[in-house]
């Protein structure tokens, strides 16, 4: 942090006299962070609201990105509509966020999709509780297969209808979901203390059966 502040100083002073007559160039000015704007009248949002009843709960634009919060029960219908009717053929990213204290539900599951025609991206977000499972979108976009497995592995969110919901980065039998906020950063003892019958003392997982991960 400190060297960052120190390095620009000589250049700043050098550039300052030049830029004084005009307005300050934006990189010397205070940064202007983006603000949240209501996006309920966005064409994709209105089309989705009209096509799938009661699906859209809220829509918000931030830094040029539209986030549509939808009802988890309408997720598949909404995603299918967005893909087939609105051209969002490409699922870029799928992940989750953990908010342990939140009342509406613990997890955000977010879908970030792309339309090739006009290079537009939108985000669909659902809010789910710890116990509820999420319908899998593998039937809509094939690419979501591994992404959902990763979310299951890291957050413990169960995806209904997923063809092969196994842990992907950690091994089967790992006790916990590391990206939950209540999982300690320094890690847990994955050896004898957790599952002495599977893991020998002080060692990692034994590769006894094939396809353990």
């Amino acid at each position: 942090m400190t060297d960052e502040k120190n390095t620009p100083k000589p250049e700043d002073q050098g550039a300052a006299p030049k830029s004084q007559p005009e307005a300050k160039p934006p990189w010397l000015d205070k940064p202007v962070p983006p603000v949240h704007v209501d996006a309920m009248d966005d064409p994709d949002v209105t089309a989705l609201a009209a096509a799938v009843e009661d699906a859209v709960l809220a829509a918000d634009a931030f830094a040029g990105e539209v986030t549509i919060t939808i009802d988890p029960a309408k997720l598949i219908d909404a995603c299918r509509f967005l893909k087939q009717e609105r051209g969002f053929k490409f699922l870029v990213d799928l992940t989750a966020v953990d908010w342990p204290e939140r009342e509406e539900g613990r997890f955000d599951v977010v879908y970030w999709m792309h339309r090739f025609d006009d290079s537009r991206r939108i985000r669909v977000r659902i809010i789910v509780g710890e116990e509820t499972s999420v319908p899998s979108v593998t039937g809509v976009w094939k690419t979501s297969n591994w992404m959902e497995r990763e979310v299951y592995d890291m957050f413990g969110i169960v995806f209904d209808g997923h063809p092969n919901l196994e842990r992907i980065l950690l091994w089967e039998g790992f006790n916990g979901h590391p990206l939950r906020k209540d999982f300690p950063v320094e890690g847990i003892d994955t050896g004898a203390a957790v599952q002495p019958d599977v893991y020998p003392e002080g060692g990692g997982p034994l590769v006894e059966e094939e396809g353990g991960a």
Partner: protein, 373 residues
């Protein structure tokens, strides 16, 4: 495509664990193969051997201190990883960077792309039995790493971008040295092409191997050269220009057949285009500061933001969630191109021979550092 293949005769199916300690898996990838003789009936990639919990670590670090972690995702092209993170942070904080910083970033990122493609070509060719290109590729890569070393002191994990710009001014003589290299480089690409492009063995090993159609590639979420090799003209540098790529003139090379050979041609052309970009950046390099005036402690507004860059492997995106006035990411998710590209491996190798699996793993150009994170 789809589902495991049925054997022709009543034969015993063999299971083979390919990797994780196999030189052609480029790290610690393990593939469980189901074989009928030498034919691959089904392949199941098993990953996670290099999982270090990077996304969890991001949550514990103030924003600027996250940058060194990004180096360790795709460690053969760390400049683009840094770029992805700082571009996302600048979008979140509303920072405009000085033009000189943007140009230096583009130079570093494109040199990184060339060096990443050189590593890919060297290892891909050596996997398929062509040992000579390795020596040529690493000769040029050495020069690029020397340039990085002269700029920031590091050769691989550069940590060379900051939120708001780049940390250092270019050292004396660096521009001339880089310019000298980049003018010579296209002739070196010709050398690689002489060794491989019309080589009969090379073509027999790559043409028609690991074919994926454009529709299938989009459905599987492929990005980068695997997508462009199937003929989809799509590049983040053109679609969502970051830094100052919109001021640079370059083309997006695409293939037609979506096979290993086309992806080879695409990457070779990309090296030429990257050299062209570096040339233009060096010519146009503006004067001025190399870093914007940023607050000492970065406090982000509440929200979620995603931005991506075109990494050598494909679209590298960062998804950052922040709390009001947060100084650390509440959640930082990386969209690693290799992870998503590797998912297409089972479909691409079904029905091929074991030796072709090596070609397809090579052509996907995966780096386990960013797959496992």
């Amino acid at each position: 495509m789809g589902g495991p293949l049925e054997p022709l005769f009543d034969v015993e199916e063999m299971e083979l664990s390919f990797g994780p300690q196999h030189p052609s898996t480029h790290g610690v990838l393990r593939v469980m193969l189901k074989l009928d003789g030498e034919k691959i009936m089904d392949a199941k990639p098993i990953i996670g051997y290099l999982h270090r919990g990077t996304e969890k670590l991001f949550e514990t670090e103030p924003f600027p201190q996250c940058i060194p972690h990004t180096d360790r995702l795709d460690y053969v092209a760390s400049a683009t990883n840094n770029q992805g993170f700082v571009v996302t942070m600048e979008k979140l904080l509303g920072i405009t960077i000085p033009p000189r910083a943007a140009y230096i970033r583009m130079i570093l990122a494109e040199l990184g792309r060339i060096s990443s493609h050189l590593v890919w070509l060297a290892t891909h060719a050596i996997d398929l039995g062509a040992i000579t290109p390795f020596f040529y590729n690493f000769r040029e890569r050495e020069e690029i790493l020397d340039l990085f070393e002269a700029y920031c002191g590091a050769r691989l994990t550069l940590n060379t971008m900051r939120i708001g710009g780049v940390p250092f001014e270019l050292p004396d003589g660096w521009v001339d040295r880089c310019s000298d290299f980049i003018d010579r480089f296209p002739a070196h690409v010709d050398e690689y092409e002489q060794l491989l492009t019309e080589n009969r063995i090379w073509k027999r090993r790559t043409v028609g191997v690991g074919v994926i159609s454009a529709e299938e590639a989009i459905e599987m979420g492929l990005t980068g050269p695997p997508l462009r090799g199937s003929g989809v003209k799509w590049d983040i540098r053109k679609v969502f220009p970051y830094d100052h790529y919109d001021e640079i003139d370059f083309e997006i090379p695409v293939g037609t057949n979506g096979d290993t050979y086309d992806r080879y041609l695409v990457r070779l052309q990309e090296m030429r285009q990257s050299a062209r970009i570096v040339r233009q950046c060096l010519d146009k390099l503006p004067d001025g500061p190399v870093i914007a005036k940023v607050p000492k402690v970065l406090r982000a507004p509440e929200g979620m933001v995603y931005a991506s860059v075109e990494a050598p492997k494909g679209e590298l995106g960062y998804f950052i969630v922040t709390t009001p006035k947060g100084t650390k990411p509440y959640r930082c998710h990386v969209r690693p191109p290799s992870f998503i590209n590797l998912q297409a491996l089972p479909e691409m190798v079904q029905g091929l021979l074991v030796a072709d699996l090596v070609a397809v793993i090579g052509t996907l150009d995966i780096v386990l550092g960013e797959i496992d994170r």
